[in-house]
């Protein structure tokens, strides 16, 4: 098969898989998988921008998606006015004080000569501001968390359309990436991987524990939607007419209709990001990034500022992941900090990029689709497989019961093996990166 035909063929094969699920299981499930495939594909694009274009290892995908998810809550949830009255001023004041403390640190850093004095000065400023901020912050947090704790107990958000949060989520993730990049990008690749893993654990720890911000592990549910609710559709006259004209069950059709609306929105976002990424990859900027990736020393000799180019690409990729994170929370309609696990949110995305083809945007998208599809379908496939190999055993055989019970965990093993096999035997992935000098 020629290189040209390969991409359409693989995407058509993927579509066929989703259609088979539609026929064998249900169309609703097929669309649910498609929607998460689309979000995964955007996350994989983000990682591909960092790893594929520039060779940066970001093991903090989980943190950037969680930040995006938080923005979905903060933008869309209506403000809780009682909580604002109780502690809003205190929180605002402590944010202001934090900014002042940071400014003071920056000024001290600039004013004092490098050496012991500077370190001691910074330590004193940090210690004083820590206790001052805590004295304002703690009472405010208590006041907020005790107002109506059972149903709200947090500040709420801005009550704006949730779709705005997709952009804000990207900006917030970019902001965190800027701080992270400033600290770690001068150093070699392992430190970036470890540091991003660390920041993502901390982001999730904050989201689990700062109840005033997002109710912590009590979760925020019932977020507004950018698409209609099923219940409202089922009562709308035009929808009743449409479903009776099509001759389908109205409940199932409403669920499919809603999922299709999400799919259209997600496809639009994916196409915009893909278009921009492809433009960037083919521009002189993209060529420069690949040159830096392939040979840092000679690019540096050509006068390219490696650290600031790396910072740029790190921020861009993280922003894309943040957008996808906000979209995911929008799709779920709720924000559950405990659902953020590194295997699912960081390392699975990496499997997508490596399997799809690092450096190729279409590859990353395909990887997102294929890996998410098998991640979901591994469970029924695993149970079916275990049923087959244990069919000779008695129904109450403990080994058989254990195997069927644990079949779902098979998907982790399968993902690991797929990653290792692709990395070893086909390191350029399903859709390899295009190199202009390759043919």
């Amino acid at each position: 098969m020629t290189e040209r035909n390969r991409i359409p063929f693989l995407f058509v094969a993927m579509a066929v898989l989703l259609i088979i699920v539609g026929f064998l299981q249900s169309w609703s499930l097929s669309l649910a998988i498609l929607n998460l495939c689309l979000i995964s594909a955007i996350m994989a694009l983000g990682v591909n921008i960092q790893w594929g274009y520039a060779g940066l290892v970001n093991f903090g995908v989980m943190g950037f998606s969680a930040v995006g998810g938080l923005m979905a809550v903060l933008i869309s949830y209506p403000p809780v006015l009682e909580a604002w009255q109780a502690g809003g001023n205190g929180i605002m004041l402590s944010i202001l004080l934090t900014l002042i403390a940071i400014a003071a640190c920056v000024i001290a850093y600039r004013m004092l000569p490098a050496g012991r004095n500077r370190q001691i000065g910074l330590a004193i400023i940090l210690a004083i501001s820590f206790f001052v901020i805590r004295s304002v912050y703690d009472p405010a947090v208590n006041a907020i968390e005790s107002t109506n704790a059972a149903s709200t107990g947090f500040l709420g958000g801005f009550g704006m359309p949730i779709i705005i949060s997709w952009a804000i989520g990207g900006l917030a993730a970019a902001g965190i990436a800027w701080v992270m990049g400033k600290i770690t990008l001068g150093l070699r690749s392992d430190y970036l991987a470890i540091a991003t893993l660390g920041i993502s654990e901390i982001v999730v720890a904050v989201l689990k524990n700062e109840d005033w911000l997002n109710r912590g592990v009590k979760n925020v549910v019932g977020l507004p939607r950018p698409v209609p609710f099923e219940v409202n559709l089922q009562q709308a006259e035009w929808f009743i007419n449409l479903s009776s004209w099509l001759g389908v069950d109205i409940v199932e059709f409403s669920s499919i209709y809603v999922k299709l609306c999400y799919s259209l929105l997600f496809v639009a976002v994916l196409l915009v990001i893909l278009y921009l990424s492809e433009k960037a990859l083919r521009s002189p900027w993209g060529r420069m990034m690949r040159a830096i990736r392939d040979n840092e020393v000679s690019s540096n000799a050509m006068g390219k500022n490696i650290t600031s180019r790396h910072l740029q690409v790190f921020i861009l990729g993280s922003a894309v992941i943040g957008i996808a994170g906000a979209m995911l929370t929008t799709l779920d309609g709720q924000f559950t900090p405990t659902s953020y696990q590194p295997l699912r949110f960081t390392f699975l995305i990496w499997v997508m990029v490596i399997v799809g083809g690092s450096g190729n945007n279409f590859g990353a998208i395909l990887g997102g689709f294929v890996i998410w599809f098998f991640w979901v379908e591994a469970e029924p496939l695993g149970i079916w497989f275990m049923d087959v190999i244990t069919s000779g055993m008695a129904a109450d055989n403990p080994l058989k019961l254990h195997l069927i019970d644990s079949a779902a965990h098979m998907r982790l093993i399968v993902m690991g093996v797929v990653l290792l096999v692709v990395l070893r035997f086909s390191p350029r992935g399903l859709i390899p990166e295009k190199t202009s000098h390759g043919h």
Binding site: G55, V57, F59, Q119, F130, D138, I183, T184, L187, R188, S189, D190, Y191, A193, I194, A195, L197, G198, I199, E201, I202, A205, V206, K208, N209, P342, L343, F347, W350, V351, I354, S406, H409, M410, R411, L412, I413, V414, M415, G416, V417, L419, L420, L423, R424, P427
Partner: protein, 337 residues
């Protein structure tokens, strides 16, 4: 005077002794990471899973021994099960080296590729662990729970504060000291250990002087597997075995290795203790200590905690970042990654 003694007992009970135990676990973990880094030159993200894997086989063997009626009296049965756990982990890690890492070594691949391959190993090991033992908590500690209880301590000293010494804490610290001593003896005194250090310092020169690289790598994996199994089992004995916690332990372990100086075994120990004590000291509630030592007007009502316990990972991360900014080679001086 008595109030100072009371304050000291509080510190000993909730800060110093737990810090030593946690520090030993981190130090063993960091030592494993640092050995793989100095010989194979990559950050092994599968080390947390190796700890979990080793602990799991130790637990399975412990249950087997318990079902045979084997007990060690006051000591936990897990101690005699440990060699079996180590053996299985050694075989497994040598297998992953053969199947996964050896290929990249021949290719002289970039460290980043090893790192991504280790993520694949994380998936496989995590899946195997969940497949065999399931995602739930397991308890396997038996034997005496306390060396002495809080009541004993009160009878002996008559202070108002009391101290209980759990046997798992002592076992953790003692085992860690023994294992570290053996590893240092091995690295400094034996021929194989010396050739490992030579290989880590300068690969080309070591190859020229006839050191067998395959043997060095093999020995590095064997030591790492043993260290990981011991660390994982001790952590499980001291707290409880949860398959998921080990992936989270990865951050403090890396922090310990880097803070001490990557590739420097002494640094791994120092780093482990620094990280453990800072995590506990920053999240410790000082209310009682303040009440015992400071004058009345400075007493506080709340917990007097600098940070809530949930942020202990943030502490290791901040220390990591500060060390990266000020002294990237670590406290004891190691390589820069």
């Amino acid at each position: 005077m008595e109030s100072y003694a009371n304050a000291f007992v509080v510190l000993l009970n909730f800060l110093i002794i737990p810090g030593l135990a946690y520090g030993s676990q981190l130090a063993l973990g960091a030592l494993g990471v640092t050995i793989i880094y100095s010989v194979l030159r990559f950050s092994n993200f599968a080390h947390g899973e190796a700890m979990s894997f080793g602990a799991m086989f130790t637990i399975l063997t412990t249950w087997l021994f318990q079902s045979w009626g084997w007990h060690l009296g006051p000591l936990p049965t897990a101690i005699i099960a440990l060699p079996v756990g180590c053996l299985v982990t050694v075989i497994f890690l040598l297998g992953t080296d053969k199947l996964v890492y050896q290929f990249y070594r021949k290719q002289k691949a970039a460290p980043v590729i090893y790192m991504i391959a280790s993520v694949g190993v994380v998936f496989v090991m995590n899946g195997i662990i969940r497949f065999i033992i399931g995602p739930r908590d397991q308890s396997f500690a038996d034997g005496a729970r306390f060396i002495f209880t809080a009541r004993d301590f009160k009878e002996w000293f008559g202070l108002s504060e009391s101290l209980a010494l759990r046997s798992t804490t002592v076992i953790t610290i003692v085992t860690a000291i023994i294992v570290v001593a053996i590893v240092f003896w091995f690295l400094n005194k034996t021929r194989t250990g010396k050739s490992m250090r030579a290989y880590s310092d300068n690969e080309d020169l070591a190859l020229l002087s006839g050191i067998d690289p395959d043997k060095v790598v093999r020995v590095a994996w064997i030591i790492t597997a043993i260290l990981a199994t011991v660390a994982g089992t001790l952590y499980g004995l001291d707290k409880s075995y949860k398959p998921f916690t080990y992936l989270q332990l990865l951050l403090p372990i890396f922090a310990a290795a880097i803070v001490g100086g990557v590739g420097n075994p002494v640094g791994a120990i120092v780093g482990g203790l620094v990280i453990a004590f800072s995590e506990i000291a920053v999240t410790f509630a000082y209310t009682k200590v303040i009440a015992y030592t400071l004058p009345e007007f400075m007493h506080v009502d709340g917990l007097a905690q600098l940070l809530s316990t949930d942020y202990k990972f943030a502490v290791s991360f901040v220390i990591l970042v500060v060390v990266l900014l000020i002294k990237p080679t670590g406290i004891m001086g190691g390589k820069t990654i």
